[in-house]
């Protein structure tokens, strides 16, 4: 029978699992993506949680989704799905807009009863017609019935049985994409390590789903997805928030300084707090503070006491931390501030993504108050940028603000577990014994302008820091005008010097392109996909993406002035573009901006860039 199956060869494919919050779609999607990664596909995933914590079952607001993009050259979770799993009518209704015109839609036909349709606010008994679905291939499967039959002898109660539906869907999708189901069994085993009966039931149902696929092969086409030869090593699936947390731990290991996090819960940054609070075996100290101000202040205290100190938050929390970040600038203490950006202003769109905090990070403080600002571009890059932020903070005695966003924070991809030996050393600018005589806290290295760090507990280096301006020689409080100017300049020079210690800006794609696409932070995947697609179609487009924003890489101006047309793309109203213009006199850049609290779509970028190139 199997020979008759039509097999489509594809470079990459997007699968979207959707159902009620209680249907376990996140788990099914997660296992599917891990499985795909383990056989050599690149993966990128994105969960789409409902805004409500516990919406009524079966309703539109209760739909939970999980999108997986697998294959070769995968940099985003994909614009639209090739395959949609819709476990109920609400899921179908909210997710059909994320499907390609010729997508395959697998439904649980048992949950398309009249009352299910009503809960999803359908007015007729034909949801497909009502949604105007044409050209898509609908595969209705009696999932609930088959799961119940399969587990009739399992001894599990009805609720537990029905919970296994997601595994039937997973098994079916695994068949569709020719995934080795054994590895899925292994993942399931880990997940249900303490509940062997549940594990058995899930495994059985998953196999049933797989076998069911075999039997209906004639009605749908199966896929073969290209794999990539990958570097040897151990891999795991990681999202941006976890990668951020682990990057800090890596920096702690490399610097030999214990890690301290002071934080207050806020979406979408809270998972950083969760991850670090759980890492006590690695000695991480976490204070869940009474508010964001205390979060950053406990971190500043820990930094003063000699820890690698960080605070994690989102935009509203960054606003609360402003004054304290100014203190860290003034006291010249190392501090990592992580802002996982979300839709703003005010409470805004907490679960959605945006890049609207850039100017807040750069300028949102009183006084001339330069802080280092860096940004992570992908879920796994969060690890490297958190590491880099910590390294800069510790070696240059400055607060560093790391900008990530809801999209990369929750999105995940496969990540090769790194060997820390390959990461650079972190060497804080400590005082040395011979400095004791006449030591002052604001004495600094003449080249880097970095002050020397003495930790409480060190004999002979007692000193007082504070937010009041200090004399550049004696370190005593000073209101001397000339001294103030000097200190302002020194603090700026210290931050500017860091441009010598960061990587240069790289141009990706066509070197002598007609259009340079510029981006920063979490838009990397979409921009890169668009540029790559255009290059493949012979379009002369290049791309420069920024991880380091303040200071900018040294070759920034040279690169930006080299191209006839430069378009700065951001999920805000043009904050980076205006920053660049302010740094480079007369710089002529175009802007492409979107503020819908959603990532870019590759298609819209390609369309826009193509249009730009046609314009004379």
């Amino acid at each position: 029978m199997a020979e008759k199956t039509k097999i489509k060869e594809l470079e990459k494919v997007v699968v979207r699992f959707s159902g009620d919050s209680g249907d376990g779609m996140q788990l099914a999607g997660n296992i599917f993506s891990n499985l795909s990664a383990s056989i050599g596909n690149e993966i990128s995933t994105f969960p789409d949680y409902p805004a409500e914590i516990r919406a009524p079952q079966g309703t539109l607001s209760g739909v939970s989704g999980f999108q997986v993009h697998i294959g070769k050259g995968v940099y985003t979770p994909g614009d639209k799905a090739d395959v949609l799993v819709a476990m109920n009518p609400a899921a179908l209704k909210t997710n059909v807009k994320f499907c390609k015109p010729n997508a395959v839609i697998i439904t649980d036909e048992d949950s398309f009863t009249k009352s299910d349709l009503e809960k999803a606010a359908f007015t007729t008994d034909n949801p497909f017609e009502e949604l105007n679905i044409t050209g898509m291939q609908i595969v209705p499967v009696p999932i609930t019935t088959m799961v119940k039959a399969s587990l009739s002898d399992s001894g599990l109660d009805n609720k537990a049985v029905v919970r296994c539906k997601n595994m039937f869907a997973l098994g079916l999708v695994c068949w569709l994409f020719n995934r080795p189901i054994e590895h899925a069994a292994h993942l399931l085993k880990n997940k249900f390590a303490k509940k062997p009966a549940i594990y058995e039931a899930n495994l059985k149902v998953m196999n049933d789903g797989y076998n069911y696929g075999h039997n209906i092969h004639a009605t749908v086409s199966a896929y073969r997805i290209e794999t990539m030869p990958t570097q040897k090593g151990f891999y795991t699936d990681i999202n941006g928030n976890k990668a951020t947390a682990l990057g800090l731990i890596a920096a702690s290991e490399k610097s030999g300084l214990p890690l301290f996090l002071g934080s207050y819960p806020i979406t979408p940054a809270t998972d950083i707090l969760h991850e670090l609070a759980a890492r006590k075996e690695l000695g991480v100290k976490v204070v869940q503070a009474e508010d964001e101000i205390a979060g950053v202040c406990t971190a500043i205290g820990a930094s003063f006491a000699g820890h690698l100190a960080a605070t994690s938050t989102s935009g509203p929390g960054l606003a609360l931390k402003s004054e304290a970040i100014g203190l860290a600038v003034m006291a010249e203490l190392p501090l990592v501030v992580i802002d996982v950006q979300r839709g703003g202003p005010s409470t805004g769109l907490p679960t959605k993504t945006e890049q609207t905090d850039l100017l807040q990070a750069l300028y949102g403080r009183n006084g001339e108050c330069p802080a280092v600002v860096v940004a992570a571009s992908t879920p796994t890059n969060c690890f490297d940028m958190a590491f880099s932020a910590a390294k800069i903070a510790l070696e240059h005695m400055t607060p560093v603000i790391l900008l990530t966003d809801g999209f990369i924070a929750n999105g995940s991809s496969a990540w090769r577990i790194p060997e820390l030996e390959t990461y650079p050393e972190i060497k804080p600018n400590y005082v040395t014994e011979d400095m004791k005589e006449g030591w002052r806290p604001y004495k600094r290295n003449a080249e880097t302008s970095v002050r020397y760090w003495a930790l409480p507990g060190m004999d002979g280096f007692m000193h007082r820091l504070g937010g009041l301006e200090k004399d550049n020689v004696t370190s005593a409080i000073s209101t001397d005008p000339v001294n103030h100017q000097k200190m302002v300049d020194l603090r700026q020079a210290k931050v500017d010097y860091i441009s010598n210690c960061i990587p240069e800006l790289k141009v990706l794609g066509d070197e002598d392109a007609d259009l340079l696409v510029v981006g920063w932070g979490g838009t990397y995947g979409h921009l890169y996909s668009a540029v790559e697609e255009m290059n493949r179609n012979g379009k002369k487009v290049a791309m420069a993406h920024f991880n380091y924003i303040n200071p900018l890489p040294k070759n920034t101006e040279e690169i930006l002035r080299k191209y006839k047309k430069v378009v700065v793309c951001e999920l805000n109203k043009g904050q980076f573009a205006s920053f660049l213009r302010s740094k480079m006199h007369g710089l002529d850049v175009l802007q492409y901006n979107k503020v819908q609290a959603q990532p870019f779509m590759v298609n819209e970028l390609v369309d826009h860039f193509t249009k730009l190139m046609e314009e004379k």
Binding site: G40, N190, Y235, D237, C297, T298, F304, I417, L468
Partner: protein, 337 residues
């Protein structure tokens, strides 16, 4: 603690002291240096953290590690210092505005967590540094620059906040009584956990004599009572007045009158976890009942910094991963060969 004998001078910095002549803060800094010498923790293992205000200038005058931070946040910053390095002795110096207005939230949470800080709250019932606005401890009706017709709000009584936050150590002192203040500071330092010492401090410029009704030499003995652990609650010029409990209320009696003997007088126990008596004592205001000075409450309880450290040790004992890589390899992974 080291074996070296310290003197107050060891804790004095070379900075010129800038408070107004006659300000109560001078006495506090001198007393604190003496107390630190007596406690015997080395200057380099001592940290003084403050917020902003006249009183918060104090760290500059100490030859210890010090951090003059931002308005209201000293408790939070001190918490970070102590959690990071519990071996340090951490003092917080704060004013009534710094601690109870802008910093009220951090203060009650530091007290609730019972983090091992010695919090010196210099209460002059006014904002000194900003030149004379009323504070959260100003008496109702106080006429100040920002309340030219008198305030219309009730003040905080710091002790009530401390007890409301389930604090384990509260003491009260007056700037003019150096000896008692020093003893109280030493007791606060020795107590493990958040120790709050309210020091009634005179601002000669903007709120002169605000505490005079209790601190004045003439009346002090009759309007205050210095509480000492295990001792009878007696006071008065002639040491013949004492406190007894009358129903749920405290009452002043005279020993030798109406058949009252020393045996009838209450004995102070700061160490009992029950807050009833501590609250009653702390609420005495120097009018019908004497204002209580000394250590009113001092109860042993686990400290936050200690428990953070212990939890880490106990998890380490249970889990074997010690590096990031070991941790990652223990999770959901796959190998590419």
């Amino acid at each position: 603690m080291s074996n070296i004998e310290y003197t107050a001078k060891d804790f004095k910095s070379d900075q010129y002291v800038r408070w107004c002549p006659g300000c109560g803060d001078h006495a506090v800094v001198n007393t604190l240096q003496k107390a630190m010498a007596e406690v015997g923790v080395a200057p380099h293992e001592t940290v003084v953290i403050s917020g902003i205000g006249c009183s918060s200038r104090l760290p500059y005058y100490m030859n210890t590690y010090g951090f003059h931070t931002i308005h209201g946040r000293a408790s939070a910053i001190a918490t970070g210092v102590k959690v990071a390095n519990p071996a340090l002795t951490v003092w917080q110096v704060t004013g009534d505005g710094d601690c109870l207005a802008i910093g009220g939230n951090h203060f009650i949470h530091a007290v609730r967590r019972n983090i091992d800080l010695n919090i010196m709250l210099l209460n002059n019932k006014i904002y000194g540094l900003t030149k004379g606005q009323y504070s959260p401890t100003s008496d109702k009706g106080a006429v100040t620059k920002s309340s030219p017709y008198g305030t219309v709000e009730e003040p905080f009584i710091p002790a009530e906040l401390v007890f409301g936050a389930r604090g384990n150590f509260f003491a009260r002192a007056i700037d003019v009584d150096l000896a008692t203040t020093k003893d109280i500071m030493v007791a606060a330092a020795k107590h493990k956990g958040a120790s709050v010492v309210e020091i009634l401090q005179n601002c000669v410029i903007f709120n002169d004599n605000i505490h005079k009704y209790v601190t004045d030499k003439e009346v002090r003995a009759d309007r205050t009572i210095v509480l000492k652990q295990g001792e009878k609650m007696i006071f008065g010029k002639n040491r013949d007045k004492g406190l007894v409990l009358d129903g749920m209320q405290l009452k002043v009696v005279t020993i030798g009158e109406n058949g009252v003997t020393l045996d009838d007088i209450l004995t102070h126990d700061a160490t009992t976890p029950d807050m009833f008596m501590h609250m009653r004592l702390a609420l005495m205001d120097g009018h019908s009942l004497p204002l209580a000075l000394g250590v009113i409450r001092s109860v042993e309880a686990p400290t936050y910094d200690q428990e953070v450290a212990e939890q880490i040790e106990s998890v380490k004992a249970r889990k074997k991963e010690r590096t990031l890589r070991e941790y990652l390899l223990s999770g959901d992974i796959w190998e590419v060969k």
